[in-house]
Protein backbone atom coordinates (compact mmCIF):
# COMPACT_ATOMS: atom_id res chain seq x y z
CA UNK A 1 0.00 0.00 0.00
CA UNK A 2 1.74 3.12 -1.25
CA UNK A 3 -0.02 5.48 1.20
CA UNK A 4 1.50 3.41 4.03
CA UNK A 5 4.97 3.81 2.50
CA UNK A 6 4.47 7.58 2.26
CA UNK A 7 3.15 7.73 5.86
CA UNK A 8 6.14 5.75 7.11
CA UNK A 9 8.59 7.95 5.20
CA UNK A 10 6.95 11.08 6.59
CA UNK A 11 7.33 9.79 10.12
CA UNK A 12 10.95 8.75 9.59
CA UNK A 13 11.82 12.03 7.89
CA UNK A 14 12.03 13.71 11.28
CA UNK A 15 12.99 10.95 13.73
CA UNK A 16 13.43 13.17 16.78
CA UNK A 17 10.02 14.82 16.35
CA UNK A 18 8.35 11.45 15.75
CA UNK A 19 10.15 9.99 18.77
CA UNK A 20 8.92 12.87 20.93
CA UNK A 21 5.38 12.42 19.65
CA UNK A 22 5.44 8.67 20.33
CA UNK A 23 6.99 9.34 23.75
CA UNK A 24 4.10 11.70 24.52
CA UNK A 25 1.56 9.04 23.55
CA UNK A 26 3.46 6.39 25.52
CA UNK A 27 3.56 8.66 28.58
CA UNK A 28 -0.18 9.22 28.43
CA UNK A 29 -0.80 5.48 28.07
CA UNK A 30 1.58 4.77 30.97
CA UNK A 31 -0.39 7.22 33.12
CA UNK A 32 -3.62 5.49 32.08
CA UNK A 33 -2.21 2.05 32.95
CA UNK A 34 -0.85 3.30 36.28
CA UNK A 35 -4.16 4.88 37.32
CA UNK A 36 -6.14 1.81 36.23
CA UNK A 37 -3.81 -0.61 38.04
CA UNK A 38 -3.80 1.57 41.17
CA UNK A 39 -7.59 1.93 41.34
CA UNK A 40 -8.14 -1.74 40.64
CA UNK A 41 -5.44 -2.66 43.17
CA UNK A 42 -7.03 -0.44 45.79
CA UNK A 43 -10.44 -1.97 45.13
CA UNK A 44 -8.95 -5.48 45.35
CA UNK A 45 -7.19 -4.66 48.62
CA UNK A 46 -10.26 -3.09 50.22
CA UNK A 47 -12.45 -5.96 49.06
CA UNK A 48 -9.91 -8.50 50.30
CA UNK A 49 -9.65 -6.73 53.65
CA UNK A 50 -13.41 -6.87 54.04
CA UNK A 51 -14.01 -10.35 52.70
CA UNK A 52 -10.95 -12.05 54.20
CA UNK A 53 -12.25 -11.87 57.77
CA UNK A 54 -15.96 -11.96 57.24
CA UNK A 55 -18.58 -14.09 55.57
CA UNK A 56 -19.47 -13.48 51.93
CA UNK A 57 -23.10 -14.45 52.56
CA UNK A 58 -24.92 -14.58 55.93
CA UNK A 59 -28.08 -16.63 56.40
CA UNK A 60 -30.47 -15.61 59.17
CA UNK A 61 -34.11 -16.24 60.02
CA UNK A 62 -36.46 -13.74 58.45
CA UNK A 63 -37.45 -10.88 60.71
CA UNK A 64 -40.79 -11.53 62.35
CA UNK A 65 -43.31 -8.72 62.40
CA UNK A 66 -46.64 -8.33 64.16
CA UNK A 67 -49.48 -8.98 61.74
CA UNK A 68 -53.21 -8.42 61.64
CA UNK A 69 -55.28 -11.59 61.79
CA UNK A 70 -58.45 -11.66 59.65
CA UNK A 71 -61.72 -12.04 61.56
CA UNK A 72 -64.98 -12.82 59.72
CA UNK A 73 -67.52 -12.89 62.54
CA UNK A 74 -66.57 -10.22 64.96
CA UNK A 75 -66.18 -6.54 64.41
CA UNK A 76 -62.76 -6.34 66.04
CA UNK A 77 -59.28 -6.85 64.66
CA UNK A 78 -56.91 -9.40 66.17
CA UNK A 79 -53.14 -8.84 66.13
CA UNK A 80 -50.54 -11.59 66.47
CA UNK A 81 -47.93 -10.45 68.96
CA UNK A 82 -44.34 -11.44 68.28
CA UNK A 83 -42.27 -12.38 71.25
CA UNK A 84 -39.17 -10.24 71.50
CA UNK A 85 -37.70 -12.46 74.22
CA UNK A 86 -37.53 -15.60 72.18
CA UNK A 87 -34.26 -15.62 70.22
CA UNK A 88 -34.73 -16.04 66.47
CA UNK A 89 -33.12 -19.21 65.27
CA UNK A 90 -32.68 -21.57 62.33
CA UNK A 91 -34.01 -24.89 63.60
CA UNK A 92 -33.47 -26.92 60.45
CA UNK A 93 -29.90 -25.67 60.01
CA UNK A 94 -28.55 -29.15 59.25
CA UNK A 95 -30.55 -29.41 56.01
CA UNK A 96 -29.45 -25.90 55.00
CA UNK A 97 -25.82 -26.87 55.59
CA UNK A 98 -26.37 -29.93 53.39
CA UNK A 99 -27.75 -27.71 50.63
CA UNK A 100 -24.74 -25.40 50.94
CA UNK A 101 -22.31 -28.31 50.81
CA UNK A 102 -23.78 -29.36 47.49
CA UNK A 103 -22.95 -25.98 45.92
CA UNK A 104 -19.56 -25.89 44.13
CA UNK A 105 -19.33 -22.11 44.55
CA UNK A 106 -19.24 -22.50 48.36
CA UNK A 107 -15.78 -22.77 49.88
CA UNK A 108 -16.63 -22.77 53.64
CA UNK A 109 -19.70 -23.01 55.89
CA UNK A 110 -19.98 -22.00 59.51
CA UNK A 111 -23.23 -22.45 61.48
CA UNK A 112 -23.07 -20.06 64.42
CA UNK A 113 -24.84 -18.75 67.43
CA UNK A 114 -24.36 -15.02 67.48
CA UNK A 115 -25.39 -12.77 70.29
CA UNK A 116 -24.39 -10.01 72.61
CA UNK A 117 -22.74 -10.42 75.99
CA UNK A 118 -20.50 -8.70 78.50
CA UNK A 119 -17.12 -9.72 79.76
CA UNK A 120 -16.57 -8.77 83.39
CA UNK A 121 -13.15 -8.62 84.99
CA UNK A 122 -13.23 -7.13 88.42
CA UNK A 123 -14.87 -3.76 87.97
CA UNK A 124 -14.17 -3.61 84.24
CA UNK A 125 -17.03 -4.51 81.94
CA UNK A 126 -16.82 -4.71 78.15
CA UNK A 127 -19.56 -5.49 75.67
CA UNK A 128 -18.72 -8.19 73.11
CA UNK A 129 -20.26 -9.60 69.97
CA UNK A 130 -20.17 -13.34 70.39
CA UNK A 131 -19.61 -15.82 67.60
CA UNK A 132 -20.13 -19.36 68.79
CA UNK A 133 -18.81 -21.84 66.27
CA UNK A 134 -17.87 -25.44 65.77
CA UNK A 135 -14.22 -25.55 66.99
CA UNK A 136 -13.26 -27.71 64.01
CA UNK A 137 -14.38 -24.90 61.72
CA UNK A 138 -12.77 -22.07 63.67
CA UNK A 139 -10.95 -20.71 60.64
CA UNK A 140 -13.80 -21.24 58.18
CA UNK A 141 -14.71 -17.55 58.00
CA UNK A 142 -11.79 -15.73 59.55
CA UNK A 143 -8.34 -17.32 59.97
CA UNK A 144 -8.34 -16.78 63.72
CA UNK A 145 -5.97 -19.61 64.65
CA UNK A 146 -3.21 -18.06 62.52
CA UNK A 147 -3.67 -14.75 64.27
CA UNK A 148 -3.32 -15.95 67.81
CA UNK A 149 -0.63 -13.87 69.49
CA UNK A 150 -0.96 -15.33 72.96
CA UNK A 151 -2.20 -18.76 74.17
CA UNK A 152 -3.72 -21.09 71.61
CA UNK A 153 -6.89 -21.58 69.56
CA UNK A 154 -8.30 -24.60 71.46
CA UNK A 155 -11.75 -23.49 72.61
CA UNK A 156 -12.67 -26.55 74.66
CA UNK A 157 -15.76 -26.68 76.90
CA UNK A 158 -15.18 -23.41 78.82
CA UNK A 159 -12.77 -21.59 76.59
CA UNK A 160 -13.07 -18.17 74.98
CA UNK A 161 -10.90 -16.39 72.39
CA UNK A 162 -10.75 -12.61 72.52
CA UNK A 163 -9.04 -9.88 70.55
CA UNK A 164 -5.89 -8.16 71.62
CA UNK A 165 -7.50 -4.76 72.23
CA UNK A 166 -10.29 -6.27 74.30
CA UNK A 167 -7.70 -8.13 76.37
CA UNK A 168 -5.82 -4.86 76.91
CA UNK A 169 -9.00 -3.02 77.89
CA UNK A 170 -9.90 -5.67 80.47
CA UNK A 171 -6.32 -6.40 81.55
CA UNK A 172 -6.67 -10.04 80.52
CA UNK A 173 -4.05 -12.48 79.36
CA UNK A 174 -4.22 -16.06 78.09
CA UNK A 175 -5.13 -18.60 80.79
CA UNK A 176 -6.99 -16.12 82.99
CA UNK A 177 -10.64 -16.56 83.93
CA UNK A 178 -13.28 -14.03 82.92
CA UNK A 179 -16.95 -13.74 83.77
CA UNK A 180 -19.20 -14.12 80.74
CA UNK A 181 -22.67 -12.56 81.07
CA UNK A 182 -25.21 -12.92 78.25
CA UNK A 183 -27.87 -10.39 77.33
CA UNK A 184 -30.35 -12.72 79.04
CA UNK A 185 -28.47 -12.45 82.32
CA UNK A 186 -26.91 -15.93 82.24
CA UNK A 187 -23.44 -15.94 83.86
CA UNK A 188 -20.58 -18.34 83.46
CA UNK A 189 -16.90 -18.26 84.25
CA UNK A 190 -14.81 -18.93 81.14
CA UNK A 191 -11.09 -19.13 80.55
CA UNK A 192 -9.27 -16.98 78.01
CA UNK A 193 -7.60 -19.67 75.86
CA UNK A 194 -6.13 -17.40 73.29
CA UNK A 195 -5.77 -13.77 72.22
CA UNK A 196 -5.87 -12.91 68.55
CA UNK A 197 -4.80 -9.90 66.53
CA UNK A 198 -6.42 -9.46 63.10
CA UNK A 199 -5.47 -5.83 62.63
CA UNK A 200 -9.13 -4.92 62.27
CA UNK A 201 -10.17 -2.82 65.26
CA UNK A 202 -13.79 -3.97 65.07
CA UNK A 203 -12.70 -7.60 65.52
CA UNK A 204 -9.83 -7.05 67.95
CA UNK A 205 -11.91 -4.90 70.29
CA UNK A 206 -15.42 -6.30 70.07
CA UNK A 207 -15.52 -9.97 69.08
CA UNK A 208 -15.22 -13.09 71.20
CA UNK A 209 -15.29 -16.70 70.01
CA UNK A 210 -16.85 -19.62 71.93
CA UNK A 211 -17.65 -23.17 70.96
CA UNK A 212 -21.23 -23.93 69.93
CA UNK A 213 -21.45 -26.41 72.78
CA UNK A 214 -20.49 -23.74 75.34
CA UNK A 215 -22.86 -21.19 73.86
CA UNK A 216 -26.05 -23.30 73.73
CA UNK A 217 -26.96 -23.08 77.43
CA UNK A 218 -25.71 -19.51 77.66
CA UNK A 219 -27.96 -18.29 74.83
CA UNK A 220 -30.80 -20.69 75.60
CA UNK A 221 -30.58 -22.40 72.23
CA UNK A 222 -30.39 -26.18 72.80
CA UNK A 223 -30.80 -27.10 69.10
CA UNK A 224 -30.81 -24.31 66.54
CA UNK A 225 -28.32 -21.73 65.37
CA UNK A 226 -28.87 -18.02 64.85
CA UNK A 227 -27.03 -17.71 61.59
CA UNK A 228 -25.03 -19.61 59.00
CA UNK A 229 -21.98 -17.87 57.57
CA UNK A 230 -20.83 -18.81 54.07
CA UNK A 231 -17.62 -18.17 52.16
CA UNK A 232 -17.58 -18.37 48.39
CA UNK A 233 -14.91 -19.24 45.88
CA UNK A 234 -15.62 -15.93 44.11
CA UNK A 235 -16.70 -13.18 46.55
CA UNK A 236 -17.81 -11.00 43.65
CA UNK A 237 -20.74 -13.38 43.06
CA UNK A 238 -22.05 -13.07 46.61
CA UNK A 239 -25.01 -10.91 45.66
CA UNK A 240 -26.45 -13.37 43.16
CA UNK A 241 -25.70 -16.35 45.44
CA UNK A 242 -27.54 -14.61 48.28
CA UNK A 243 -30.56 -14.20 46.02
CA UNK A 244 -30.39 -17.91 45.19
CA UNK A 245 -30.22 -18.87 48.88
CA UNK A 246 -33.16 -16.67 49.79
CA UNK A 247 -35.17 -18.44 47.12
CA UNK A 248 -33.95 -21.92 48.08
CA UNK A 249 -34.14 -21.74 51.89
CA UNK A 250 -36.71 -19.08 52.75
CA UNK A 251 -34.10 -17.55 55.05
CA UNK A 252 -32.81 -14.04 54.79
CA UNK A 253 -29.50 -14.12 52.91
CA UNK A 254 -27.31 -11.02 53.00
CA UNK A 255 -24.26 -10.57 50.80
CA UNK A 256 -21.10 -8.85 52.01
CA UNK A 257 -21.78 -6.09 49.47
CA UNK A 258 -25.13 -5.32 51.11
CA UNK A 259 -23.50 -5.23 54.53
CA UNK A 260 -20.82 -2.88 53.22
CA UNK A 261 -22.87 -0.57 51.03
CA UNK A 262 -20.63 2.35 51.98
CA UNK A 263 -17.57 0.52 50.74
CA UNK A 264 -19.27 -0.24 47.45
CA UNK A 265 -20.22 3.41 47.07
CA UNK A 266 -16.68 4.51 47.87
CA UNK A 267 -15.27 2.05 45.32
CA UNK A 268 -17.70 3.30 42.69
CA UNK A 269 -16.75 6.94 43.40
CA UNK A 270 -13.10 5.98 43.21
CA UNK A 271 -13.68 4.22 39.89
CA UNK A 272 -15.45 7.31 38.53
CA UNK A 273 -12.53 9.52 39.56
CA UNK A 274 -10.18 7.09 37.86
CA UNK A 275 -12.27 7.15 34.71
CA UNK A 276 -12.08 10.94 34.60
CA UNK A 277 -8.29 10.86 34.95
CA UNK A 278 -8.12 8.19 32.23
CA UNK A 279 -10.28 10.29 29.91
CA UNK A 280 -8.14 13.38 30.46
CA UNK A 281 -4.91 11.50 29.83
CA UNK A 282 -6.37 10.07 26.61
CA UNK A 283 -7.62 13.47 25.50
CA UNK A 284 -4.18 15.01 26.05
CA UNK A 285 -2.66 12.17 23.98
CA UNK A 286 -5.14 12.75 21.17
CA UNK A 287 -4.65 16.52 21.17
CA UNK A 288 -0.90 15.92 20.90
CA UNK A 289 -1.36 13.65 17.88
CA UNK A 290 -3.82 16.00 16.18
CA UNK A 291 -1.61 19.06 16.65
CA UNK A 292 1.56 17.28 15.51
CA UNK A 293 -0.12 15.97 12.37
CA UNK A 294 -1.70 19.35 11.68
CA UNK A 295 1.75 20.93 11.85
CA UNK A 296 3.08 18.23 9.53
CA UNK A 297 0.24 18.83 7.05
CA UNK A 298 0.96 22.55 7.14
CA UNK A 299 4.69 22.05 6.66
CA UNK A 300 4.06 19.80 3.68
CA UNK A 301 1.53 22.03 1.93
CA UNK A 302 3.73 22.33 -1.15
CA UNK A 303 4.20 18.57 -1.46
CA UNK A 304 0.51 17.96 -0.93
CA UNK A 305 -0.26 20.67 -3.49
CA UNK A 306 1.93 19.03 -6.12
CA UNK A 307 0.37 15.64 -5.40
CA UNK A 308 -3.07 17.14 -5.89
CA UNK A 309 -1.91 18.91 -9.06
CA UNK A 310 -0.76 15.54 -10.38
CA UNK A 311 -4.23 14.22 -9.75
CA UNK A 312 -3.42 12.16 -6.66
CA UNK A 313 -6.79 11.57 -4.98
CA UNK A 314 -7.95 13.28 -1.80
CA UNK A 315 -8.49 9.84 -0.36
CA UNK A 316 -4.84 8.93 -0.86
CA UNK A 317 -3.65 12.11 0.86
CA UNK A 318 -6.11 11.71 3.74
CA UNK A 319 -4.99 8.08 4.00
CA UNK A 320 -1.35 9.15 4.41
CA UNK A 321 -2.22 11.23 7.46
CA UNK A 322 -4.65 8.72 8.97
CA UNK A 323 -2.00 6.02 8.60
CA UNK A 324 0.52 8.26 10.36
CA UNK A 325 -1.97 8.59 13.22
CA UNK A 326 -2.46 4.82 13.24
CA UNK A 327 1.28 4.14 13.35
CA UNK A 328 1.85 6.69 16.13
CA UNK A 329 -1.10 5.26 18.07
CA UNK A 330 -0.05 1.61 17.74
CA UNK A 331 3.62 2.20 18.54
CA UNK A 332 2.91 4.73 21.32
CA UNK A 333 0.23 2.56 22.90
CA UNK A 334 2.45 -0.53 22.69
CA UNK A 335 5.39 1.21 24.34
CA UNK A 336 3.06 2.84 26.89
CA UNK A 337 1.53 -0.52 27.84
CA UNK A 338 4.98 -2.09 28.27
CA UNK A 339 6.36 0.83 30.29
CA UNK A 340 3.14 1.01 32.32
CA UNK A 341 3.38 -2.68 33.17
CA UNK A 342 7.06 -2.29 34.06
CA UNK A 343 6.31 0.72 36.29
CA UNK A 344 3.40 -1.03 38.06
CA UNK A 345 5.41 -4.22 38.51
CA UNK A 346 8.24 -2.24 40.08
CA UNK A 347 5.87 -0.31 42.36
CA UNK A 348 4.29 -3.59 43.43
CA UNK A 349 7.65 -4.71 44.79
CA UNK A 350 7.94 -1.69 47.12
CA UNK A 351 6.78 -2.61 50.61
CA UNK A 352 6.52 -0.95 54.00
CA UNK A 353 8.50 -2.39 56.95
CA UNK A 354 5.38 -4.38 57.98
CA UNK A 355 5.26 -6.07 54.57
CA UNK A 356 2.37 -3.98 53.22
CA UNK A 357 2.73 -2.66 49.68
CA UNK A 358 3.58 1.06 49.52
CA UNK A 359 0.94 1.41 46.77
CA UNK A 360 -1.85 -1.17 46.54
CA UNK A 361 -1.22 -1.59 42.81
CA UNK A 362 -2.32 -4.55 40.68
CA UNK A 363 0.01 -4.69 37.62
CA UNK A 364 -2.14 -7.29 35.89
CA UNK A 365 -5.19 -4.99 36.09
CA UNK A 366 -3.79 -2.12 33.99
CA UNK A 367 -6.56 -2.29 31.38
CA UNK A 368 -3.96 -2.93 28.68
CA UNK A 369 -6.27 -4.16 25.92
CA UNK A 370 -8.71 -1.31 26.50
CA UNK A 371 -6.07 1.42 26.53
CA UNK A 372 -4.33 -0.06 23.47
CA UNK A 373 -7.55 -0.15 21.48
CA UNK A 374 -8.76 3.23 22.75
CA UNK A 375 -5.44 4.92 21.98
CA UNK A 376 -5.19 3.38 18.52
CA UNK A 377 -8.77 4.27 17.70
CA UNK A 378 -8.34 7.73 19.22
CA UNK A 379 -5.14 8.30 17.25
CA UNK A 380 -6.99 7.49 14.04
CA UNK A 381 -9.80 9.87 14.99
CA UNK A 382 -7.29 12.57 16.00
CA UNK A 383 -5.65 12.30 12.59
CA UNK A 384 -8.93 12.79 10.75
CA UNK A 385 -8.90 16.58 11.21
CA UNK A 386 -5.39 17.12 9.74
CA UNK A 387 -6.13 14.45 7.12
CA UNK A 388 -9.27 16.25 5.96
CA UNK A 389 -7.53 19.62 5.92
CA UNK A 390 -4.63 18.15 3.88
CA UNK A 391 -6.98 16.44 1.44
CA UNK A 392 -9.03 19.62 0.98
CA UNK A 393 -5.98 21.73 0.26
CA UNK A 394 -6.38 23.75 -2.94
CA UNK A 395 -3.40 22.63 -5.06
CA UNK A 396 -3.03 25.98 -6.76
CA UNK A 397 -3.06 27.87 -3.49
CA UNK A 398 -0.55 25.46 -1.93
CA UNK A 399 1.83 25.61 -4.89
CA UNK A 400 1.65 29.39 -5.24
CA UNK A 401 2.62 29.77 -1.58
Amino acid sequence: MFAFTVARRYLFSNPSQTALLIAGVALGVTAFVFITALIQGLAIRLTDDVTANSAHVSLEPVTRVARVLPSADVDVESVAIVSTFQRRQIRAWASTVELLRSQPSVSAISPQISGSAFLVKGEAVAPVAVSAIDPSGLDAISPISTEIVSGDASLGADGILIGVRLAENLGLSAGQPVLFRTDRGVDRLLTVRGIFQTGLQSLDERVAYLSLQTARPLFLLPEGVTNIEVKLVDPARAREFAAFLTEATGLRATSWQEKNANLEGALAAQARTGTLIQIFSLISVLIGIASALSLSANRRRGEIGIMRAFGVSKRFIAGVFVLQGLLIGVVGAGIGCLSGFALCSWLATLTEPDGMMVLPIAPSEGGYVAVFLLTTLGAILASVIPARSAARLDPLEAIQQ
Partner: protein, 236 residues
Amino acid sequence: MSPVLDARGIGMTFRNGDELTEVLKGVDLTLNPGELAALLGASGSGKSTLLSIVGLLLRPTVGTITIAGERVDTLSEAQRALFRNRRLGFIFQFHYLLPDFTATENVAFPAAAPAGGISPEMRRRARDLLARVGLSDRMEFPATRLSGGQKQRVAIARALMNGPDLVLADEPTGSLDRASAEQVLDLMREVNQEDGATFLICTHDEHVAARCTRRISLSDGRVESVMRTDLGARGA
Protein backbone atom coordinates in the same frame (compact mmCIF):
# COMPACT_ATOMS: atom_id res chain seq x y z
CA MET B 1 -4.21 17.32 -37.29
CA SER B 2 -6.50 17.95 -34.30
CA PRO B 3 -5.11 20.32 -31.67
CA VAL B 4 -3.86 19.10 -28.28
CA LEU B 5 -5.40 22.13 -26.63
CA ASP B 6 -8.36 24.13 -27.81
CA ALA B 7 -9.53 26.77 -25.34
CA ARG B 8 -12.35 29.04 -26.48
CA GLY B 9 -13.62 32.26 -24.97
CA ILE B 10 -11.96 31.74 -21.61
CA GLY B 11 -13.02 34.34 -19.13
CA MET B 12 -12.14 34.55 -15.47
CA THR B 13 -13.48 36.95 -12.88
CA PHE B 14 -12.37 36.89 -9.26
CA ARG B 15 -14.51 38.27 -6.50
CA ASN B 16 -12.85 39.96 -3.57
CA GLY B 17 -15.65 41.06 -1.27
CA ASP B 18 -17.81 43.39 -3.33
CA GLU B 19 -15.05 43.97 -5.82
CA LEU B 20 -14.95 41.99 -9.06
CA THR B 21 -11.68 41.65 -10.97
CA GLU B 22 -11.81 40.39 -14.52
CA VAL B 23 -8.46 38.68 -15.11
CA LEU B 24 -9.16 36.94 -18.42
CA LYS B 25 -11.45 38.41 -21.07
CA GLY B 26 -12.42 35.87 -23.70
CA VAL B 27 -9.09 34.23 -24.45
CA ASP B 28 -8.81 31.76 -27.35
CA LEU B 29 -5.82 29.45 -27.35
CA THR B 30 -4.94 26.51 -29.58
CA LEU B 31 -1.87 24.28 -29.39
CA ASN B 32 -0.97 21.60 -31.92
CA PRO B 33 0.85 18.40 -31.04
CA GLY B 34 4.58 18.83 -30.63
CA GLU B 35 4.46 22.56 -30.07
CA LEU B 36 6.72 24.33 -27.57
CA ALA B 37 4.75 27.45 -26.80
CA ALA B 38 5.62 30.33 -24.52
CA LEU B 39 2.85 32.22 -22.77
CA LEU B 40 4.26 35.68 -22.19
CA GLY B 41 2.97 38.60 -20.32
CA ALA B 42 3.69 41.12 -17.63
CA SER B 43 2.80 40.48 -14.05
CA GLY B 44 -0.99 40.61 -13.70
CA SER B 45 -1.59 39.93 -17.40
CA GLY B 46 -3.44 36.70 -16.53
CA LYS B 47 -0.95 34.19 -17.89
CA SER B 48 -0.66 32.11 -14.68
CA THR B 49 -4.44 32.10 -14.33
CA LEU B 50 -4.78 30.88 -17.92
CA LEU B 51 -2.21 28.15 -17.30
CA SER B 52 -4.07 27.04 -14.18
CA ILE B 53 -7.35 26.93 -16.09
CA VAL B 54 -5.83 24.91 -18.90
CA GLY B 55 -4.24 22.65 -16.26
CA LEU B 56 -7.70 22.05 -14.72
CA LEU B 57 -6.56 23.53 -11.41
CA LEU B 58 -9.03 26.37 -11.75
CA ARG B 59 -12.49 26.57 -13.31
CA PRO B 60 -13.03 29.44 -15.75
CA THR B 61 -15.99 31.74 -15.29
CA VAL B 62 -16.84 31.23 -18.97
CA GLY B 63 -15.39 29.33 -21.90
CA THR B 64 -14.77 25.82 -23.11
CA ILE B 65 -11.62 23.72 -22.97
CA THR B 66 -10.87 20.66 -25.06
CA ILE B 67 -7.69 18.69 -24.48
CA ALA B 68 -6.70 15.89 -26.83
CA GLY B 69 -10.21 15.82 -28.19
CA GLU B 70 -11.94 15.60 -24.81
CA ARG B 71 -14.10 18.39 -23.45
CA VAL B 72 -12.75 18.93 -19.93
CA ASP B 73 -14.34 22.12 -18.56
CA THR B 74 -17.50 20.19 -17.67
CA LEU B 75 -15.75 17.41 -15.72
CA SER B 76 -16.42 16.86 -12.01
CA GLU B 77 -13.70 17.47 -9.43
CA ALA B 78 -12.74 13.79 -9.28
CA GLN B 79 -12.77 13.47 -13.07
CA ARG B 80 -10.55 16.53 -13.39
CA ALA B 81 -8.07 15.00 -10.91
CA LEU B 82 -8.04 11.77 -12.89
CA PHE B 83 -7.57 13.68 -16.15
CA ARG B 84 -4.68 15.69 -14.69
CA ASN B 85 -3.07 12.49 -13.53
CA ARG B 86 -3.31 10.67 -16.84
CA ARG B 87 -3.15 13.35 -19.51
CA LEU B 88 -1.29 16.39 -18.11
CA GLY B 89 2.18 17.05 -16.79
CA PHE B 90 3.17 19.95 -14.55
CA ILE B 91 6.44 21.75 -13.95
CA PHE B 92 6.38 24.58 -11.45
CA GLN B 93 8.85 27.27 -10.54
CA PHE B 94 9.70 25.35 -7.39
CA HIS B 95 10.24 21.64 -7.95
CA TYR B 96 8.21 20.39 -4.88
CA LEU B 97 9.94 17.03 -4.90
CA LEU B 98 9.08 14.77 -1.98
CA PRO B 99 12.20 15.12 0.19
CA ASP B 100 11.84 11.69 1.77
CA PHE B 101 11.94 9.87 -1.58
CA THR B 102 14.67 9.12 -4.09
CA ALA B 103 14.81 10.69 -7.53
CA THR B 104 13.35 7.49 -9.08
CA GLU B 105 10.52 7.36 -6.53
CA ASN B 106 9.71 11.02 -7.10
CA VAL B 107 9.49 10.49 -10.86
CA ALA B 108 7.34 7.38 -10.42
CA PHE B 109 5.04 9.03 -7.87
CA PRO B 110 2.26 10.24 -10.24
CA ALA B 111 1.87 6.68 -11.52
CA ALA B 112 2.48 4.93 -8.20
CA ALA B 113 -0.04 6.79 -6.02
CA PRO B 114 -3.18 5.76 -7.95
CA ALA B 115 -1.79 2.25 -8.53
CA GLY B 116 -1.00 1.64 -4.84
CA GLY B 117 2.75 1.19 -5.28
CA ILE B 118 5.73 1.38 -7.60
CA SER B 119 5.68 -1.59 -9.96
CA PRO B 120 8.89 -2.79 -11.64
CA GLU B 121 7.55 -1.36 -14.90
CA MET B 122 7.04 2.07 -13.29
CA ARG B 123 10.51 1.95 -11.78
CA ARG B 124 11.98 1.08 -15.17
CA ARG B 125 10.17 3.96 -16.88
CA ALA B 126 11.17 6.37 -14.13
CA ARG B 127 14.80 5.36 -14.52
CA ASP B 128 14.58 5.74 -18.29
CA LEU B 129 13.19 9.24 -17.83
CA LEU B 130 15.91 10.14 -15.36
CA ALA B 131 18.48 8.90 -17.86
CA ARG B 132 16.70 11.01 -20.47
CA VAL B 133 17.14 14.14 -18.34
CA GLY B 134 20.79 13.30 -17.69
CA LEU B 135 20.53 12.00 -14.14
CA SER B 136 21.64 8.38 -14.63
CA ASP B 137 24.08 8.76 -11.78
CA ARG B 138 21.55 10.26 -9.37
CA MET B 139 18.65 7.83 -9.71
CA GLU B 140 18.74 6.52 -6.13
CA PHE B 141 19.79 9.79 -4.54
CA PRO B 142 17.34 11.24 -2.05
CA ALA B 143 15.76 14.41 -3.40
CA THR B 144 17.44 16.43 -0.66
CA ARG B 145 20.90 15.57 -2.03
CA LEU B 146 20.27 16.97 -5.51
CA SER B 147 21.20 20.46 -6.67
CA GLY B 148 18.54 22.97 -7.69
CA GLY B 149 19.03 22.27 -11.40
CA GLN B 150 18.98 18.51 -10.82
CA LYS B 151 15.77 18.78 -8.83
CA GLN B 152 14.11 20.71 -11.63
CA ARG B 153 15.24 18.03 -14.10
CA VAL B 154 13.68 15.40 -11.85
CA ALA B 155 10.52 17.52 -11.88
CA ILE B 156 10.57 17.46 -15.71
CA ALA B 157 10.98 13.68 -15.70
CA ARG B 158 8.11 13.44 -13.21
CA ALA B 159 5.90 15.56 -15.49
CA LEU B 160 6.56 13.09 -18.31
CA MET B 161 5.98 9.93 -16.22
CA ASN B 162 2.42 9.23 -17.34
CA GLY B 163 3.05 10.17 -20.99
CA PRO B 164 0.99 13.38 -20.90
CA ASP B 165 -0.70 14.94 -23.92
CA LEU B 166 0.30 18.37 -22.66
CA VAL B 167 3.01 19.57 -20.27
CA LEU B 168 2.31 22.84 -18.49
CA ALA B 169 5.27 24.73 -17.06
CA ASP B 170 4.90 27.79 -14.87
CA GLU B 171 8.13 29.81 -14.77
CA PRO B 172 10.15 26.56 -14.81
CA THR B 173 13.51 28.36 -14.63
CA GLY B 174 12.39 31.10 -12.26
CA SER B 175 14.24 29.74 -9.25
CA LEU B 176 17.39 28.59 -11.06
CA ASP B 177 20.71 30.24 -11.77
CA ARG B 178 21.50 31.08 -15.39
CA ALA B 179 23.53 27.90 -16.10
CA SER B 180 20.90 25.57 -14.58
CA ALA B 181 18.14 27.47 -16.34
CA GLU B 182 19.90 26.97 -19.68
CA GLN B 183 20.21 23.23 -19.01
CA VAL B 184 16.53 22.95 -18.13
CA LEU B 185 15.47 24.89 -21.24
CA ASP B 186 17.71 22.74 -23.42
CA LEU B 187 16.20 19.67 -21.88
CA MET B 188 12.61 20.76 -22.47
CA ARG B 189 13.41 21.56 -26.09
CA GLU B 190 15.13 18.21 -26.48
CA VAL B 191 12.16 16.34 -25.07
CA ASN B 192 9.85 18.42 -27.26
CA GLN B 193 11.81 17.83 -30.41
CA GLU B 194 12.79 14.20 -29.88
CA ASP B 195 9.73 12.85 -28.07
CA GLY B 196 7.16 15.20 -29.61
CA ALA B 197 5.82 16.27 -26.19
CA THR B 198 3.70 19.44 -26.31
CA PHE B 199 4.71 22.19 -23.87
CA LEU B 200 3.00 25.37 -22.78
CA ILE B 201 5.48 27.43 -20.81
CA CYS B 202 4.28 30.37 -18.82
CA THR B 203 7.08 32.94 -18.44
CA HIS B 204 7.87 36.61 -18.27
CA ASP B 205 11.42 35.95 -19.40
CA GLU B 206 12.09 36.88 -23.03
CA HIS B 207 15.11 34.60 -23.05
CA VAL B 208 12.91 31.61 -22.26
CA ALA B 209 10.34 32.66 -24.87
CA ALA B 210 13.08 32.94 -27.43
CA ARG B 211 13.70 29.20 -27.10
CA CYS B 212 10.10 28.34 -27.94
CA THR B 213 8.47 27.70 -31.28
CA ARG B 214 5.56 30.02 -30.56
CA ARG B 215 5.06 33.11 -28.46
CA ILE B 216 1.62 33.92 -27.16
CA SER B 217 1.54 37.32 -25.53
CA LEU B 218 -1.13 38.24 -23.04
CA SER B 219 -1.93 41.73 -21.96
CA ASP B 220 -4.73 42.86 -19.67
CA GLY B 221 -6.46 39.50 -19.86
CA ARG B 222 -6.47 39.27 -23.66
CA VAL B 223 -4.26 37.61 -26.24
CA GLU B 224 -2.23 40.45 -27.62
CA SER B 225 -0.24 38.57 -30.25
CA VAL B 226 0.66 35.09 -31.42
CA MET B 227 3.95 34.69 -33.16
CA ARG B 228 5.76 31.69 -34.61
CA THR B 229 9.46 31.78 -33.76
CA ASP B 230 11.50 29.81 -36.25
CA LEU B 231 14.65 30.70 -34.38
CA GLY B 232 13.41 28.73 -31.39
CA ALA B 233 12.56 25.77 -33.53
CA ARG B 234 16.02 25.68 -34.96
CA GLY B 235 17.49 25.73 -31.54
CA ALA B 236 19.71 28.71 -31.96
